[in-house]
């Protein structure tokens, strides 16, 4: 049964992708309908998978010695991420019905979106590292296609190529790590790597651990690869929601959480993970302070919140990180989609030209404010509980300075979120923008997510129960929601964080409002523009690889003789290696 459900969860979006293409761009109504139908069906199947959550393998198909077996394991980690990918993905698809109405190439758009959702589900459900890698690459390819969807805009194309190349760096890390694990264990099975990690030589294990850390950082846009995500903002807004909330960036967090038990004993690994999280969370929070592009601000906040999750994993709080991942997926999808509704109605992303839109778009304002309060981490909203849980874990298991920096990050988050909300919806109107009302489909998707922002923290008990029960190597303890609520409300750390947030909000209200529209100080702007000095590094990588590809273009001339030469050359190379290694 679980196997059928898994096949449907991955297969339905992929089938939908093909049918949308087959429907053709001349039937946009069909395309919208098919995409919504298939993605919703996949989300429904993912929800049906909950009762079948277990650490048992659902499928074990032996594919021969070089591939191992194709296996799928519906454990708690996999199922929760599958639900996030498919359900929030389908809400983004529903939103697209209004947002993408009238676009010429809907077939390509929906094909990539559905292919993306299916691949993400496959990535987290796969029990075989090699197939995890395949799905990982598919998500990279789809994200490239979607970021560059407006392919007549050079900025969109450049952003897509940058995302592709930087996440490829991560893909290479994952591949090298997987092959090393295979060379030492003789198996690609994730369960083997988790249970037999201690039998490997210590230096090999630490190379694998750091390769996987590079993979996760590149995929989740963590320091030092944090520059591709803001550039990915050229994508249509539902795609930004999909990449930031439902799919792509969660893959890195998933990888760290999944292999945490294997790597936690590697010296220096936890510290590096924690450091990557802290640095990303802080510097992107600073960058969000000065950004004037609405989507860019949200992108920086995503990197910052992902930094919190990475920090939590570094502090040993896998459960806290997964809980925040769930909350973040819901409220960030809400924020992105409502930002999309704003951008769709006024036709600009520049916050300095918006202002006082709240009166013209009351519904969008209300849901955006709900999402913003969750991002700030104010009580009752899901972001509050999960962020406080992370800070709680951080207080117990990380150095004091790290905890202090994360508290500072929370205060900065409150400041920039408030600034963003105020610039868009409140204050005075600064430009005469023509406003369309938001469409019905948009409102449905936003409404569901707004309800989710209020309620998903109630799922904590269920999440921790399934994670604890189905991940035996992680040694997690099941906690009930009530216990979590009690613990957080009684902890002095919570009140410290809340008072810092209050101070930050007061600071914005009395001082920051005057500055919000002024030019930010030159040193801060320069630091933000160069991503704290790491923009050149990332640009160097992406330019270097593009340049190399350009140099090698002459080898791809389609001449048959030339290709034969390649085949013969490769054959001779393999023979030489075999002779040299004495097989």
């Amino acid at each position: 049964m679980a196997l059928i459900l898994i096949a449907l969860i991955i297969g339905l979006p992929w089938l939908g992708a093909l049918t949308v293409l087959a429907a053709g761009n001349k039937n946009p109504k069909w395309q919208h309908g098919l995409a919504v139908g298939f993605s919703l069906a996949s989300g429904l199947m993912a929800l049906f998978l909950i009762p079948f959550t277990s650490s048992r393998v659902a499928l074990d198909l032996w594919l021969g010695p070089s591939f191992g077996s194709l296996s799928f394991v519906p454990d708690g980690l996999a199922v929760s991420l599958t639900i996030i990918a498919t359900v929030i993905g389908s809400l983004a698809v529903i939103f697209s019905v209004d947002y993408m109405r009238g676009e010429a190439q809907l077939g390509r758009y929906y094909f990539l979106v559905l292919f993306f959702i299916g691949a993400m589900a496959g990535l987290v459900l796969s029990g075989n590292l090699l197939f995890t890698f395949f799905f990982w690459e598919i998500t990279a390819l789809c994200s490239y296609g979607l970021i560059s969807f407006y392919n007549d805009d050079p900025k969109a194309v450049a952003g897509g190529i940058k995302a592709l190349i930087i996440t490829q760096v991560g893909g290479v890390g994952l591949l090298v790590g997987s092959l090393l694990a295979y060379a030492n264990l003789g198996s690609f099975q994730i369960s083997d790597l988790l249970s037999k990690a201690n039998t490997m030589p210590a230096d090999v294990l630490s190379i694998i651990a750091f390769c996987f850390l590079i993979a996760a950082s590149a995929k989740s846009a963590q320091f030092p690869f944090h520059t591709w995500l803001p550039d990915a903002m050229e994508a249509p807004t539902p795609i930004s929601a999909l990449i930031h909330a439902a799919t792509m960036v969660n893959a890195g967090i998933y990888l760290l959480a999944r292999f945490f038990p294997a790597f936690e004993s590697v010296p220096g690994w936890m510290e590096m993970v924690m450091l990557a999280g802290i640095v990303s969370a802080l510097i992107t929070a600073f960058m969000a302070l000065t950004a004037t592009d609405l989507k860019r601000t949200l992108a920086y906040s995503t990197v910052s919140q992902l930094g919190y999750m990475v920090y939590a994993i570094g502090a040993g709080g896998v459960l806290a990180s997964q809980f925040h991942l769930l909350s973040h997926a819901v409220f960030k999808a809400l924020l992105f989609l409502s930002a999309g509704a704003v951008i769709h109605s006024v036709g600009t992303r520049d916050m300095t030209r918006m202002g006082a839109l709240g009166r013209k778009l009351p519904y969008v304002r209300n849901v955006f404010v709900i999402g913003a309060l969750a991002l700030i981490g104010l009580p009752v909203f899901n972001g509050f509980w999960s962020k406080e849980l992370i800070l709680e874990v951080g207080l117990e298991h990380s150095p004091r300075w790290a905890y202090g920096l994360m508290l500072l990050g929370a205060a900065l988050t409150a400041f920039y979120t408030f600034r963003m909300t105020w610039l868009v919806f409140y204050g005075s109107s600064r430009a005469d923008l023509h406003v369309h009302p938001a469409g019905l489909w948009m409102k449905i998707a936003l409404g569901v997510l707004a309800i989710g922002t209020f309620t998903t923290w109630l799922l904590f008990g269920g999440l921790s129960g399934t994670l604890a029960q189905s991940l035996p190597t992680h040694h997690l303890e099941a906690e009930s929601t009530i216990h979590m609520v009690e613990m957080i409300l009684l902890a002095p750390a919570t009140w410290l964080a809340l008072s810092l947030i209050a101070v930050s909000l007061a600071l914005f209200w009395f001082v920051g409002r005057g500055f919000a529209l002024k030019e930010s100080p030159i040193w801060l702007r320069e630091l933000s523009e160069s991503s704290f000095g790491f923009e050149p590094v990332n640009t160097f990588i992406s330019r270097g690889i593009s340049g190399l590809a350009e140099q090698l273009r002459f080898t791809q001339n389609g001449q048959m003789n030339w290709n034969i030469l390649g085949i013969v050359g490769a054959l001779l190379f393999v023979l030489a290696v075999l002779l040299w290694s004495g097989v």
Binding site: G558, Q559, M560, N561, I564, L565, V568
Partner: protein, 103 residues
């Protein structure tokens, strides 16, 4: 190496392979292309039988070889038919010229 029957067959395989690959590397004519491909495949067929003999599984090697013969006949037929069509349409069998003509 002494000239045992097995070695003669081995030389045959290497020679057919070499001629085939060399032909594929240098030829520009579509019909010659099909011909050298056939030579290459004959080397493969011989190698299959040879491998069957060496592994003591002669029947398997021979039956695989028979299957390959059937398949490569089809390759030859389709390839030559394509060559005829290409010649009719473009007036040349020169591969680089065909690929630059387009359409």
């Amino acid at each position: 190496m002494s000239l045992t029957p097995l070695n003669i067959v081995l030389f045959g395989i290497v020679a057919l392979f070499g001629v085939g690959f060399y032909g594929l590397l240098i030829t520009r004519n579509l019909i010659k292309f099909v011909m050298v491909l056939q030579i290459l495949i004959k080397g493969v067929v011989l190698a299959l039988v040879f491998a069957g003999k060496l592994s003591g599984n002669l029947g398997l090697g021979q039956s695989t070889a028979a299957t390959v013969i059937v398949a490569d006949t089809i390759v030859a037929v389709v390839g030559l038919a394509l060559a005829v069509q290409v010649r009719r349409r473009f007036g040349t069998l020169d591969v680089p010229k065909i690929s630059t003509l387009r359409g």
